[in-house]
Symmetry: C2
Subunit: 337 residues, 2 copies
DNA sequence: CTTGGTTTTGTATACGTATTCAAACAGGTT
DNA sequence: AACCTGTTTGAATACGTATACAAAACCAAG
């Protein structure tokens, strides 16, 4: 019932020491004698005192807050990422302040401003739409930025992705080895680096085997658009016998359309391969062959980079592409060995 | 390149006014003449000034931060909730600081302490494991708390849930009307209020129709445990002809087990009903009949309560149960009308 | 012009903590 | 006992902003 605003001064009084002493007890690496530590700890516990992190940030210039700009969580890959990211930062003494950047029409300036208002120590941008502008602005303001699961031509910006080019290539190798010759591609949002890199690697791989791309449609990284894309590809007389879908999130509705609307059997009639290894990929109903994005490694790299950026304001930008295996499940014909 | 720490004092100097004047310009409802507003705005824009929210919180006692304690995001219902919640709070000038409370073994005290360190204006607890203790502690510290999608016997705590009791009841009515008499139930984590209420409503409904519960197994709200539970229920000679699964997240693996391990057809051989209306419920592969939890309404209620609690420190606790319809899809036999 | 009331402004202070600086202290050497 | 060195300590100040208070400016009415 007592007005519960207990400050370092209260503790100092009770312990019979100066406020500075209290502060030092709670500042790792400060110079205090064991006797004072003892007294202060006792008083602090009695009063239930804990340092106010926001007040502390005024002096230290560190808030312990990492901004996370994220677009949408429908794609199951992202919640998993967020979960691991948050947990990892938490063990490092940081916490995640979430900024939803849903509609890209929204004012970028507004979001950037809000983020900076909170004096975030760093920014992780996993947003689809406006990550590039947003990140540039934040970086210009002196905040370390890491692009997660997207990258940027601008090489001054750190980024962590899977090796999308190599991944696309692996899919091409796999499908061609499986004997496919009429291979379709369902693209993601065209401006995304993930989309571009995956497609480029894929096409290169096909070309290396002397196979051309049979058909292409745009799925925009969205369920509905992907379903439409599947309908488009398979409504023609000369259907693909395999499809590479730019991410799992789109591959699921694509599989549903092929099975339930076209009555096709997977993989007997058509092979489907995705990208990400999102959780439903190993649900029996989908059992999707896909390129794994190694979430733990991506998270670890991301955290490492952002912490480095905080420690050393001008640590050089890093662009990390983590290799991931193609996970062979039942949605695509398996090449004879 | 200039050391980018621009403060209200810098602005004041440039504008030729006092620091207080600058502060007032950025404080809604403060008394400033249009002339000063003009001058300050100009100077602020020139320098790119924005008030430091953390510093501001020292005076106002408001951080604009809402803590969100959440356990795990595998259950697709939660990411959607988080997304809407965050967006809604954002439009109200608040932001979400995420606290992952993954392993319930973890020290509750530690998490509570961390949350309070950030001077959060409110706490939303959607955590499975330790929400009760955690919430109690936070509330004791004078922070408004809302339990989201779980409630508490303790009626001093606000909570927002769907009407789980009524929902369970609806499922019973529906399955009995569908002609089922051997009805099984796969339970969630036994300590969760959602689990208890859904089961209670369900049993009551069955009893009202003179039908007993045929079988029961524990799924713990986890995929693997739910799959095991399904195996347990269907390995016996006398199988259920319908199952109510305590949430969709468990219903998906249950359907997969029934189809792929037992070769059962849904709904011809067995009906399955879930709870939540998580996104995959309307994916064609599952097409799951389920009780909808009205996310937008739940989020709206939650935000309303927490904001009320912030405005008025002792606004009375509210316990809201939002009714949701049973969404009839293809996973359960449809009663003749 | 005064006067009285209202609005606007600046000065000073507070918010809760970290840190600089100089004073106080401890401990060992001669 | 006197000296030096290295560690602890408290007083004072800084961090960036909001606000109580009093001085100043304004405005309408007398």
């Amino acid at each position: 019932m007592s007005s519960n605003r207990v400050t370092s001064i209260d503790v100092a009084k009770l312990a019979g020491v100066s406020q500075a002493a209290v502060s030092r007890v709670f500042t790792p690496g400060a110079s205090v004698s064991p006797r004072i530590v003892e007294k202060v700890r006792l008083a602090a516990d009695r009063l239930g005192y804990r340092p106010n992190r926001l007040a502390r940030s005024l002096n230290t210039g560190r808030s312990g807050i990492i901004g996370l700009a994220i677009g949408y969580l429908e794609n199951q890959f992202y919640p998993e990422l967020l979960q691991q990211l948050s947990a990892s930062l938490q063990t490092n003494g940081y916490h995640v302040l979430v900024f939803m950047t849903g509609n890209p029409d929204e004012d970028v300036d507004k979001v950037v401003a809000e983020i900076l208002d909170y004096q975030v120590d760093g920014l992780i941008a996993a947003s689809v739409g406006m990550s590039s502008q947003l990140a540039r602005r934040a970086q210009a303001a002196g905040v370390p930025v890491v692009l997660l699961n997207r990258s940027q031509d601008d090489s001054t910006m750190s980024s962590v992705t899977s090796d999308n080019h190599a991944g696309g290539r692996k899919v091409a190798d796999f499908l061609v080895a499986g004997g496919h010759r009429r291979i379709g591609y369902i693209a993601g949002w065209e401006s995304a680096s993930t989309q571009r890199d995956r497609e480029a690697g894929f096409r290169e791989g096909l070309a290396a085997h002397g196979v051309g791309l049979w058909a292409r449609a745009r799925g925009e990284f969205e369920r509905e658009a992907a379903a439409d894309a599947a309908r488009e590809l398979f409504s023609t007389g000369n259907r693909p016998d395999a499809v590479f879908v730019a991410n799992d999130h789109m591959a699921f509705p694509v599989m549903d359309v092929l099975r339930h609307e076209f009555g096709l059997r997977i993989p007997q009639d058509v092979s489907v391969v995705g990208y990400d290894d999102a959780p439903p990929a190993n649900w029996p109903s989908y059992d999707l062959t896909t390129v794994r994005q190694d979430r733990p490694s991506m998270v670890a790299a991301c955290v490492k980079i952002i912490l480095a950026g905080i420690e050393n304001r001008d640590s050089p930008p890093q662009r990390i592409a983590i290799d991931g295996p193609i996970v062979i499940r039942g949605s695509a014909r398996i090449p004879p060995r």
